[in-house]
């Protein structure tokens, strides 16, 4: 504070720095930052540290305090637990099933929509509207579509002679069914990202290549796909992280079943922490999950840095 009162009266041109540097602004800056930082400490930094501490204790939901120190016990238990690994695998399986179609279809639809001269608002409505619906609404609609005996999907496939499995009831088909619902639900987000990426490609690149006799297919391969490399990296990482965080669809549509075949890692945290009251253990599982998300982000970061070096 003392430095500020010394700095302020200085003549404006003395050191030639921009005006905002001339004013010492420690105190007002604190005032502007305080509301955010207080909430940030209370609900982001604080809970992260609290969760980390809790993961080393046998904390119970129904007992106050941290309870007994467990060391790495919770982590060891999770890493040896078949339930932990199977729910982690279900999450990864869901990510594998959703990410490629959500990237490829969004890319193809955006590419096609970019060529369309009119009706763009209609495509945006059709592909993007589902994205802003609550998961509960999406789940209710798709449970009905998947209903054995009278669901729309079974009937539609029946008319072309395909026999449907019990979509949500069969342990093998439940996850692909959830994935299909998710593709329908969230494709619009990636679609919009790709549309924006496509608009940044200079049109004269296409015109020049058309002069040289390039076919549309060659243009897509030689111009569009390479120019969209960065958008694809962004879409892919956001998609992988979003898919890893899956909870809603399983919780509402299958309750993690049949026979736990679709229980995701977040649902495992939910079950252990809030059904079995083992919040210390649930915190340890959360931390392991956090580690997975961080690793994905780290991979992304390194890819982006390499792409930036290349250009």
């Amino acid at each position: 504070m003392t430095t500020e009162t010394v700095v302020r009266p200085r003549p404006a041109t003395e050191d030639g720095t921009p005006p905002e540097q001339r004013h010492g602004t420690g105190l007002p800056a604190l005032g502007f930052l305080a509301p955010f930082l207080l909430l940030y400490l209370a609900f982001v930094i604080g809970p992260t540290l609290y969760g980390l501490v809790m993961s080393f204790f046998d904390t119970s939901l129904v007992k106050p305090g941290l309870s007994g120190f467990a060391g790495f016990g919770n982590y060891a238990e999770a890493l040896q637990s078949a339930d932990f690994w199977s729910s982690l695998w279900h999450t990864v399986w869901f990510t594998i099933l959703t990410t490629p179609p959500l990237i490829a279809l969004a890319f193809i639809f955006a590419l096609l929509a970019d060529r369309a001269k009119n009706g763009r608002w209609f495509f945006r409505l059709a592909f993007f509207a589902p994205y802003i619906l609550p998961s509960a609404v999406v789940a209710l609609i798709w449970i009905f579509i998947y209903t054995p005996g009278l669901g729309l999907l079974e009937t539609a496939l029946g008319t072309i002679g395909i026999t449907s499995p019990n979509w949500l009831g069969d342990p093998v088909w439940a996850m692909p069914s959830l994935a299909m619902t998710t593709v329908w639900w969230t494709l619009g987000f990636n679609f919009v990202l790709y549309l924006a990426g496509l608009q940044e490609i200079p049109r004269d690149l296409y015109e020049a290549s058309a002069m040289d006799g390039a076919s549309p297919w060659q243009q897509i391969r030689k111009i569009t796909i390479p120019m969209l490399a960065r958008t694809t990296t962004l879409v892919a990482v956001l998609q992988v992280i979003a898919s890893l965080k899956v909870f809603d669809q399983m919780y509402i549509m299958t309750s993690g079943g049949p026979n736990f075949a679709t229980r995701s890692i977040l649902e495992y945290v939910y079950d252990e922490g809030f059904t079995n009251f083992r919040v210390g253990y649930a915190a340890a599982v959360s931390m392991l999950f956090f580690l997975v998300v961080l690793m994905v982000s780290a991979v992304w970061f390194s890819i982006v840095r390499r792409q930036e070096k290349e250009t």
Binding site: E20, T25, G26, P28, A29, L30, F32, L33, F36, L37, Y40, A42, F43, I45, G46, P47, Y50, G51, M54, P64, L112, L125, F128, A129, P130, I132, L133, P134, S135, A136, V137, A139, L140, I141, F144, I145, T147, L150, L187, V192, L195, A196, G213, L238, I241, F247, D248, Y251, I252, L266, V269, G273, V279, A282, A283, S286, F289, F290, V293, S297
Partner: protein, 280 residues
């Protein structure tokens, strides 16, 4: 135009037409689930076991039954309050912080900046256990605050605002400062009015994310009187049984507010995603 160029031109035209056809087909396919839900909601319950688009006896009864028998209107109120609180709170605290980071010099500026940056990496989903203990200790479970408060300090919102502020010209502020305006006045009178696109993007996104959130509200709201729409709908899911028209009517009713938001703010939403690439 040479013969060759003309042939190539007509080939491109044909290609474009095929593309358009394929796209229309997919767009229509994408609308089928919503159309089917609406179609079913307009049937009497007895008719819903027949899988046809035609309705022999269309009726709005399913909607009135849902409105009468469930607490859906209360859930609307809850969701509206929580989502509005979250949106207003996020815009306010994030823009204030971003203004300080963009325009002011102070000690530990870089430290603060990196601390906020780190927050983008932390998904709220891994914090549900500590949050629950925290609000339990505060005696604030089953309150709107417990749902709304953790959603307000959004690190990504600070970055969107900071990026936007960094791009604003500084001349106006210089003039205002010479006239003796303080930081708060400049923030209110100059910066925020200019930052309307960023405000719109952050507000709409926080609103939609908050409205749609399920996991955290599900944990803290067990009282039906203050449940949000997604939590409420997830609890009634089983209770309709085979009354499919009622189930679909509740889904449609749950979708209406967001479809309205989408139609009103379509441009802001799309530009917001394109500009910043945020995702829940």
């Amino acid at each position: 135009m040479t013969d060759l160029a003309q042939r190539a031109h007509s080939r491109v035209k044909l290609f474009n037409r095929i593309c358009f056809g394929v796209l229309i087909a997919f767009a229509l396919l994408w609308l089928v689930p919503l159309a089917w839900a609406l179609d079913t909601a307009l049937k009497p319950n007895a008719e819903t076991t027949k899988t046809t688009w035609a309705i022999a006896d269309p009726t709005l009864d399913a909607f009135s039954r849902v409105l009468r028998d469930t607490d859906i209107l209360t859930w609307f109120g809850s969701s509206l309050f929580i989502a509005t609180m979250s949106a207003v709170g996020t815009v306010l605290v994030a823009s204030l912080a971003a203004y300080a980071l963009s325009r002011m010099r102070f000690r530990y500026r870089t430290v603060v900046f990196w601390a906020v940056l780190a927050g983008i990496m932390i998904p709220g989903q891994v914090l549900i256990v500590p949050w629950f203990r925290e609000f339990d200790a505060l005696g604030m479970l089953n309150t709107w605050w417990a749902v709304s408060l953790p959603q307000i300090p959004t690190a990504i919102a600070v970055f969107i605002f900071k990026q936007f502020f960094d791009g604003l010209p500084r001349e106006l502020e210089e003039v205002a400062r010479l006239d003796g305006a303080g930081y708060l006045r400049i923030y209110r009178r100059i910066i925020m009015p200019l930052a309307r696109p960023a405000v719109a993007a952050v507000a709409i996104f926080t609103f939609v994310t908050s409205w749609n959130d399920l996991l955290w509200p599900l944990l803290v709201l067990s009282n039906p009187d203050i449940m949000t729409v997604p939590v409420g709908l997830s609890t009634v899911q089983g209770s309709f049984g085979i009354r499919y028209a009622d189930t679909m009517a509740s889904a449609i009713l749950g979708a209406i507010p967001l479809v309205a938001v989408f139609l009103l703010f379509q441009r802001n939403i799309v530009e917001g995603i394109a500009g910043s690439g945020l995702k829940g």
